[in-house]
């Protein structure tokens, strides 16, 4: 069965890729399986300088999900280009860099610096990280700021830009339109939802940062709804994510209107999550009457 998907800057042999922050820079999971099986790889966020991240505990388990407040720990964009990305060069799998920052200038600096990398095919513009004190989610919840940072990064970058939307907004379509208006090549959605969990014995939030981003199966219906809404309003490539653990989940995202999907938290539970989903996808697609991935995209929309 044809699993291939063509997106701006990305020729994918299948629509499944690990999500940013849940796969490091690929080294660790390459010990479990051949990374050539993946449709693409989205690597951990890059910021202008190295970031320490938040104090620990940084994660907590929730019903059908988890909270994280890593705080964008990364070695900084320069080191990522020289020390991390070359490892992925031998693989026949496109790499998407995740661009983060606290100011428009930092986003532009990261995007400009990434122009010199030979190892990436596209940018995922992370305007939606809920775990950093300044910036981050403000860009993802304010359409004007989202527009500005998208416009400037598009101007600075030689690569297609997929803007990663925050679900922590009341109207996702407004945000999607704002960034597509100024030239976003695609959307990536959704990032985590801000949440909190309190330890009964300690009478205090478990996560040191107090709040964290909720991910995993718990957020899947929200991701599906948001992708569905954006697909109704816009004809733009969407990389869908949020709680995917099975090939059935992937088909559901395709039906909602995603063109490709990313798998995050499921990697932690099952390091083989991505290759297992890819292996099962043809069978599940045909079980539901589809002859290719392209055939299923957007087919879940009911037109009155």
């Amino acid at each position: 069965m044809n699993l291939a998907v063509q997106l701006p800057g990305l020729t994918l042999k299948n629509p499944v890729m690990p999500a940013s922050g849940c796969f490091g820079f690929g080294k660790e999971y390459s010990e479990f399986y051949d990374l050539n099986t993946l449709g693409a790889i989205i690597v951990k966020a890059a910021t202008g300088e190295a970031r320490y991240g938040n104090p620990t505990p940084r994660v907590a388990e929730t019903s059908s999900g988890m909270l994280n407040a890593i705080g964008l720990q990364n070695p900084g964009v320069e080191k990522i280009i020289t020390d991390e990305l070359p490892f992925l060069r031998p693989f026949d799998t496109p790499v998407i860099a995740n661009v983060a920052g606290s100011t428009v200038e930092e986003y532009v600096h990261v995007a400009t610096t990434l122009n010199k990398s030979q190892d990436i095919a596209a940018l995922e513009l992370n305007i939606s990280c809920p775990n950093v004190k300044e910036g981050g989610v403000q860009f993802g919840t304010n359409p004007e700021l989202a527009k500005e940072v998208t416009y400037k990064v598009k101007e600075a970058s030689n690569f297609p830009v997929y803007v990663k939307l925050s679900p922590n907004v009341s109207n996702i379509t407004t945000m999607a339109k704002a960034v597509v208006d100024v030239g976003a090549d695609g959307l990536s959605m959704i990032n985590t939802l801000t949440g909190m969990q309190i330890n009964l014995k300690k009478r205090a939030p478990i996560i040191a940062n107090k709040t964290g981003g909720l991910s995993g199966p718990a957020i899947k219906p929200i991701a599906i709804r948001m992708i569905y809404e954006v697909r109704q309003a816009l004809d733009v490539p969407i990389i869908g994510m949020g709680g995917i653990t099975t090939a059935e989940d992937v088909v559901e995202f395709l039906l909602a209107g995603a063109n490709a999907v990313a798998v995050g938290t499921a990697n932690f539970q099952n390091p083989y999550a991505c290759p297992e989903i890819i292996e099962q996808l043809p069978q599940v697609l045909s079980e539901y009457g589809f002859s290719s991935v392209a055939d299923a995209i957007g087919k879940g929309h009911v037109h009155e």
Partner: protein
């Protein structure tokens, strides 16, 4: 080589209050090193549970874990039975680097659920001909486990918080009274205990094993970091660079 396997439980015993010893069959058993841990899937839970390797039987190709019921996940693990299978990622993390060390006399200092990994370590040390002295701390008498097994490795001293067994107080109260020379100490237990031990033994060489809440357990998510002593603006991953660190390498607390 790290991998994920379904492993059969061949023995499941309660050995102290809320404390269980579980042995599983694994072709990888002989490759497991003291200080390393495994990451166990608990059905119905998103995140795996890290548990240390407490013993290995190379001939039988089995390894043993000892855990205490802490919350829901360990409760479910306590309800498993022989013949059940566990989904386990192994081996995880660094080990006590005893193959590189010149040593004649080792001090093992364990507290509560930090005691198990020291048993496997002590066995390997004894095999190498190293003299082993163990100081173990528990909440109270009903929580004490493996005392005789540690005695077979060498002198063993027990402290309990409530004084219902051994010496009342902390492991450090016992260490203060030991006047035997040692080359290295090896410690695992709750962070306050590790702080007290590393402070008391600041002039000795030692290795400690740390705990932190984990996401991936394999080094990709940056959940489990600990700051470095010589540069607290940098950190290391407990699941990959650790859980065993040189005592002076990391900043505790």
């Amino acid at each position: 080589m790290i991998t994920k396997k379904r492993l059969e439980i061949i023995s499941h015993l309660q050995i102290a209050e809320a404390t269980f010893e579980v042995t599983v069959k694994s072709d990888f058993a002989a490759e497991l090193k003291p200080g390393q841990f495994v990451h166990i899937l608990v059905p119905g839970h998103m995140l795996r549970r890290p548990i240390s390797i407490a013993n290995v039987d190379r001939e039988q190709k089995t390894f043993t874990m000892i855990f205490k019921i802490f919350g829901e996940g360990t409760k479910k693990l306590s309800e498993c039975r022989s013949g059940d299978y566990l989904d386990i990622i192994l081996p995880c993390g660094s080990h006590y680097p005893i193959e590189e060390l010149e040593l004649e006399h080792a001090l093992l200092v364990g507290g509560g659920i930090g005691v198990p990994p020291l048993y496997y370590l002590g066995q390997q040390l004894k095999e190498k001909g190293v003299k082993v002295t163990s100081v173990l701390g528990f909440q109270g008498k009903s929580h004490v486990f493996y005392e005789e097994k540690f005695q077979q490795l060498g002198d063993t001293y027990i402290a309990t918080n409530d004084g219902t067994y051994g010496k009342k107080g902390f492991v450090t109260d016992i260490i203060k009274e030991l006047d035997q020379p040692m080359d290295y100490y090896f410690s695992c237990g709750p962070t306050p205990m590790l702080q007290a031990v590393t402070t008391l033994l600041a002039n000795e060489k030692g290795y400690i094993s740390l705990e932190e809440r984990m996401g991936c357990g394999v080094g990709t998510c940056y959940a489990c970091v600990v700051p470095l002593k010589n540069d607290p603006t940098k950190n290391k991953k407990i699941c990959k660079d650790g859980p065993v660190f040189y005592a002076n390498e990391v900043l505790l607390g």
